[in-house]
C-alpha cells in the first residue's frame, strides 16, 4: 500500500507530462492539420477555378509516384537507423526494376516481385559486407553499387531483352497486377465529388483517388510504414538496431552483436529499395526502361532526412515528393494553386509566430508568404525543372534551417570497428 502512494507522488506527475507530450504529436493532430490544409486548398480551388489538385487522378498519381520513393526512403531509414548510410539505394532500385521486369516477364508479376526482393536483399548484403565487415567508406561502397547496378542492368538488357521482343533499353511488356476498386465507397466518393460541394467534394475527390483501381501491391507496400514503426519501437531487434545507429559502443558494452544487427538491417534496406524499383517496372508501368529510377534512390535518401528518420515522416515526405512528381505530368496551373496554398500557409504561420512572439521564424514565414505572392503575380508558368527538383531543394532547405531540430542517428555514417573505444 505504501509503495503505491509513493508511486503516485513521485512518478505520476512525470508520466502525465510525457502523456501530454505524446498527445501533442499524436495522429489526431496531424489529421487536424491535414484537414486545415485541405480547407485552404478548397478555398484556393474555388477562387482559381482549377480543380486538378483535388481530382482523383492527381491523388492516385501521387500515390503511384510516392510508393517507389517511400520504399527507397524506408530502405534508407533501415540502414541509417542501424548506423550505415546507404547511398547505393539508387543502384538497389535498379536491381529491383531489372529483376522485377525480367522475372515478371518470365514467370508472372508475383514472381517478379519476389525475385526483386531476393536480389535486393543480396545487394543490401553486399553493401553490408563491404561497409561492416571490411570497413570501407560507406559513400564509396554505395556509389560503386550504383555504378555496377547501372552498368550491369544495361549489360544484361542488351543480352536478354532484344531476343524476346524488347530492345536494348526496354524490356518486353510484363503482365500487370490486378487492381481493385473499393466497392461502395469509391462510387459514393465519386458522386460526392461530382456534386461540387465546397470542401466536402474536394476531400472526396482526393480520397476517391486512393480507393479507385488500386493495386494490392500498393496497399501491402504501404503496410511497411506501420511495420517499420512497430519493429523500431516495439521489438527487441528494433531497440538494438536503434542503439547500433546511436551508440554502437554502448550497445556492444551490453553484449549486443552490432555487426549482426547491421547485416540484417542493411539487407532489408536493399530489399525495400529493390521492391520500390520493382514497383516502378511492374505497377507504375509495365516495362523495364533504362534510367527508369531517374534519381529516385537519392530522393528516397532525401525523404529520410525530410522525415527526420521516422517511418511516418518518410511516408509524409514521399507523399509530398510524389505529389510534386505527379504534378509534373498533370496540369501546370495546379502548381500555381499549390504555391498559393503554400503562401497562405506561410502567412498563417507568420501570424502564429507573431502571436507567440517568435520573431525570427515569423520573419522567415512572412518572407516565404510574400515570395509566393510575388511569384503568383509575376510568373505565368512555373518551369517544370523546378517542380522536378523540388524534393532536393526542400531537403537542402530543411538541412540548412532546421538542422538543429533534426535527430539523425548519432553514429550513422561513422566508421565503427568492433572492440574500439
Amino acid at each position: 500500500m505504501s509503495t503505491e502512494t509513493t508511486s503516485n507522488s513521485t512518478v505520476a506527475p512525470s508520466s502525465m507530462k510525457s502523456k501530454a507530450k505524446s498527445l501533442v504529436s499524436s495522429p489526431a493532430r496531424i489529421a487536424i492539420l491535414v484537414a486545415i490544409l485541405l480547407f485552404i486548398l478548397s478555398i484556393v480551388e474555388k477562387v482559381t477555378g482549377s480543380t486538378d489538385i483535388s481530382s482523383p487522378g492527381t491523388s492516385s498519381a501521387t500515390l503511384r509516384f510516392a510508393i517507389p520513393l517511400l520504399m527507397a526512403g524506408l530502405g534508407g531509414l533501415w540502414a541509417e537507423r542501424a548506423g550505415v548510410i546507404n547511398i547505393g539505394l539508387e543502384g538497389m532500385m535498379i536491381v529491383g526494376t531489372w529483376t522485377g521486369a525480367w522475372f515478371g516477364f518470365k514467370h508472372g508479376p508475383l514472381i517478379g516481385l519476389l525475385a526483386a526482393a531476393f536480389f535486393g536483399l543480396l545487394s543490401g548484403l553486399f553493401h553490408a559486407i563491404l561497409t561492416v565487415k571490411i570497413g570501407i567508406d560507406q559513400a564509396v561502397s554505395g556509389l560503386a553499387i550504383n555504378l555496377i547496378a547501372a552498368g550491369g542492368a544495361r549489360y544484361l538488357s542488351g543480352i536478354f531483352f532484344p531476343s524476346v521482343g524488347g530492345d536494348r533499353t526496354v524490356s518486353p511488356p510484363v503482365d500487370s497486377f490486378p487492381t481493385f476498386t473499393v466497392p461502395g465507397i469509391s462510387p459514393l466518393l465519386q458522386s460526392i465529388d461530382e456534386k461540387n460541394i465546397f470542401y466536402i467534394s474536394n476531400v472526396a475527390g482526393i480520397l476517391n483517388g486512393f480507393t479507385k483501381e488500386i493495386s494490392l501491391v500498393t496497399v501491402s507496400f504501404l503496410l511497411f510504414v506501420p511495420i517499420t514503426s512497430w519493429i523500431l519501437w516495439r521489438s527487441k531487434f528494433g531497440l538494438r538496431m536503434r542503439f547500433s545507429g546511436e551508440n554502437p559502443m554502448a550497445a556492444e558494452s551490453l553484449g549486443i552483436n552490432v555487426y549482426r544487427i547491421r547485416y540484417v538491417a542493411i539487407a532489408i534496406s536493399g530489399m525495400l529499395a529493390s521492391l520500390g524499383g520493382a514497383y516502378l517496372a511492374l505497377i507504375a508501368s509495365s516495362v523495364y526502361r533504362e534510367g527508369q529510377t531517374a534519381g529516385r534512390g537519392f530522393i528516397g535518401l532525401a525523404t529520410v532526412i525530410f522525415g527526420n528518420w521516422k517511418p511516418g515522416g518518410v511516408f509524409a515526405g514521399s507523399i509530398l515528393f510524389g505529389f510534386t512528381d505527379a504534378l509534373r505530368v498533370r496540369q501546370n496551373e495546379s502548381v500555381m494553386s499549390l504555391i498559393i496554398v503554400g503562401g497562405i500557409v506561410a502567412a498563417l504561420l507568420a501570424l502564429y509566430f507573431v502571436l507567440s512572439k517568435k520573431w525570427k521564424p515569423a520573419l522567415y514565414s512572412s518572407i516565404v508568404a510574400v515570395f509566393a505572392l510575388w511569384i503568383n503575380k509575376t510568373v505565368d508558368v512555373i518551369p517544370q525543372e523546378f517542380v522536378t527538383v523540388f524534393p532536393n531543394f526542400a531537403t537542402l532547405i530543411v538541412l540548412t534551417f532546421l538542422a538543429q531540430r533534426l535527430t539523425p542517428p548519432a553514429a550513422a555514417g561513422m566508421p565503427y570497428r568492433r572492440g574500439s573505444e
Partner: protein, 363 residues
C-alpha cells in the same frame, strides 16, 4: 621502409585491376565468348590512333575531375558535387564566353576564370553548410547536383539564355565566337584539345601547392588532424571552406575542353557522372597527380576500347561494371593492407614491451 611503402602502394591497384579482369573473364565466358580474343581486340582497338584521340580528350576531362576530387580527399572531403560544379562551370563559361567580345587569348582566359568561379561558388554552398551548419557534404552535394542540373535546364530555355539552332532539336547556349575558342593540336591522326596544357598546368600547380607551399601544408595538416592543425595555428574551419571552393573551381574546368575546342556552346548533351569518376580516379591514383593521370587514361581507354565489344554482340556496358569493380577492389585492398600493417606494428610493439617486462623481472 620507403620501398616497402612503394611496393604496397603499387600492389593494390594492380591487384584490383587483375581481380576485375578475372571477373570480366568469367562474365564473358558465361556469354560463351572467348575472353582472351576479346581482350586482345579491345587492346588493339583502344590503341588505334584514331581512338587514342578521343581517349586523350576524355582523359583530360577525367584528369581534371580526378584532381578536383583529390584536393577534397586531402581534406577528408568527399566531393560528390563535382557533377554540379562542372555543369555550373561549363554553362556559365559558355554563357559569358558568348556574351563578351575580347581579344583571343584574353577571351579564353576570361571564360576559364568564369568557369572556375562558377564551379567554386557552387561548391561554396556545400562548404558553408559543412563548416557553419555541420551538414555532411555528401548529402548536400547530391542535392546540389540535381539542383544545378535543374537551374541550367531552366536557364537553357530559348527565351532565357539558350537558343535553338535551326534544324536542331537540342537547346544550347549561343555559340562562343572564334576569339574565345581554343585551338586543337594535330596528334594521332586527329585533333587533341589544347586544354590538355591547362590540365598539365593544373596537375603541376596542384602538386606544388600541396607539397611546397605553406597553404598546402596547412591544407594537408588539417586533413591529417583537425586538432593538431588548430593547435599549430591554422584556422581549420576556414581551411575546410577554402578547400571546398578550390575543389569546386577545378571541377568547373572539367567541361572546358569540350566547350572551347569542340562544341563552342553548352547543351544538355554534355555528359554527366564526372563526380564518381573523379572520386574513383583520385582513389586509384592515390591523390597523386601522376597516379591520377594513369587512372584517367585507364578509364577513358576502357570506355573507348569497350565499344568494340558491340561488334561482337557483347553490350559494352560491361566496362562500367568493370570500373565499379576496380574501385571496390582497390578500396578493399587499401583497407586490407592497412590492417596488415597495423597488425605488424602491434606485433613489433608487443615484442619490444615483452622484452622490457622480462628485463624488469630479471632485476
Amino acid at each position: 621502409m620507403k620501398r616497402n611503402k612503394l611496393f604496397w602502394g603499387a600492389v593494390a591497384p594492380v591487384a584490383a585491376i587483375f581481380t576485375s579482369l578475372v571477373l570480366m573473364y568469367i562474365i564473358l565466358s558465361l556469354r560463351g565468348a572467348d575472353p582472351f580474343a576479346l581482350f586482345k581486340l579491345m587492346v588493339s582497338y583502344g590503341f588505334d590512333p584514331r581512338n587514342l584521340v578521343s581517349e586523350t580528350n576524355l582523359t583530360v576531362s577525367y584528369y581534371l575531375a580526378g584532381v578536383a576530387a583529390a584536393i577534397g580527399f586531402k581534406m577528408l572531403l568527399f566531393n560528390i558535387g563535382i557533377d554540379g560544379q562542372y555543369r555550373m562551370g561549363a554553362f556559365f563559361g559558355a554563357v559569358v564566353g558568348a556574351a563578351i567580345d575580347l581579344p583571343p587569348i584574353l577571351h579564353v582566359a576570361v571564360i576559364i576564370v568564369v568557369a572556375m568561379i562558377a564551379g567554386g561558388a557552387w561548391a561554396a554552398i556545400a562548404g558553408y553548410l559543412k563548416v557553419k551548419r555541420g551538414v555532411s557534404e555528401v548529402i548536400s552535394n547530391i542535392m546540389l547536383n540535381f539542383i544545378a542540373a535543374a537551374i541550367i535546364a531552366f536557364l537553357l530555355s530559348p527565351n532565357l539564355l539558350g537558343s535553338l539552332p535551326e534544324g536542331s532539336q537540342n537547346v544550347q547556349t549561343k555559340p562562343i565566337p572564334a576569339s574565345g575558342q581554343m585551338p586543337t593540336i594535330k596528334m594521332f591522326e586527329g585533333e587533341v584539345y589544347s586544354v590538355i596544357f591547362l590540365a598539365l598546368f593544373v596537375g603541376i600547380a596542384y602538386w606544388i601547392m600541396l607539397n611546397k607551399t605553406v597553404f598546402g601544408f596547412n591544407l594537408r595538416a588539417t586533413g591529417l588532424s583537425f586538432r593538431a592543425a588548430r593547435s599549430s595555428g591554422v584556422n581549420a574551419p576556414r581551411m575546410i571552406f577554402i578547400t571546398t571552393i578550390l575543389s569546386g573551381a577545378i571541377a568547373g574546368l572539367v567541361g572546358i575542353g569540350t566547350l572551347l575546342s569542340d562544341t563552342h556552346s553548352y547543351s544538355m548533351a554534355f555528359p554527366s557522372g564526372f563526380a564518381f569518376t573523379g572520386l574513383s580516379l583520385a582513389i586509384l591514383g592515390r591523390n597523386h597527380p601522376v597516379g591520377i593521370f594513369f587512372a584517367a587514361f585507364l578509364w577513358s581507354f576502357l570506355e573507348r576500347a569497350g565499344q568494340v565489344l558491340e561488334f561482337e554482340g557483347i553490350p559494352p556496358e560491361i566496362v562500367i561494371v568493370m570500373q565499379g569493380t576496380i574501385v571496390l577492389c582497390i578500396v578493399i585492398a587499401y583497407e586490407v593492407v592497412a590492417r596488415i600493417n597495423l597488425r605488424q606494428q602491434q606485433k613489433a610493439v608487443g615484442k619490444v614491451s615483452a622484452e622490457l617486462v622480462s628485463e624488469g623481472e630479471a632485476k
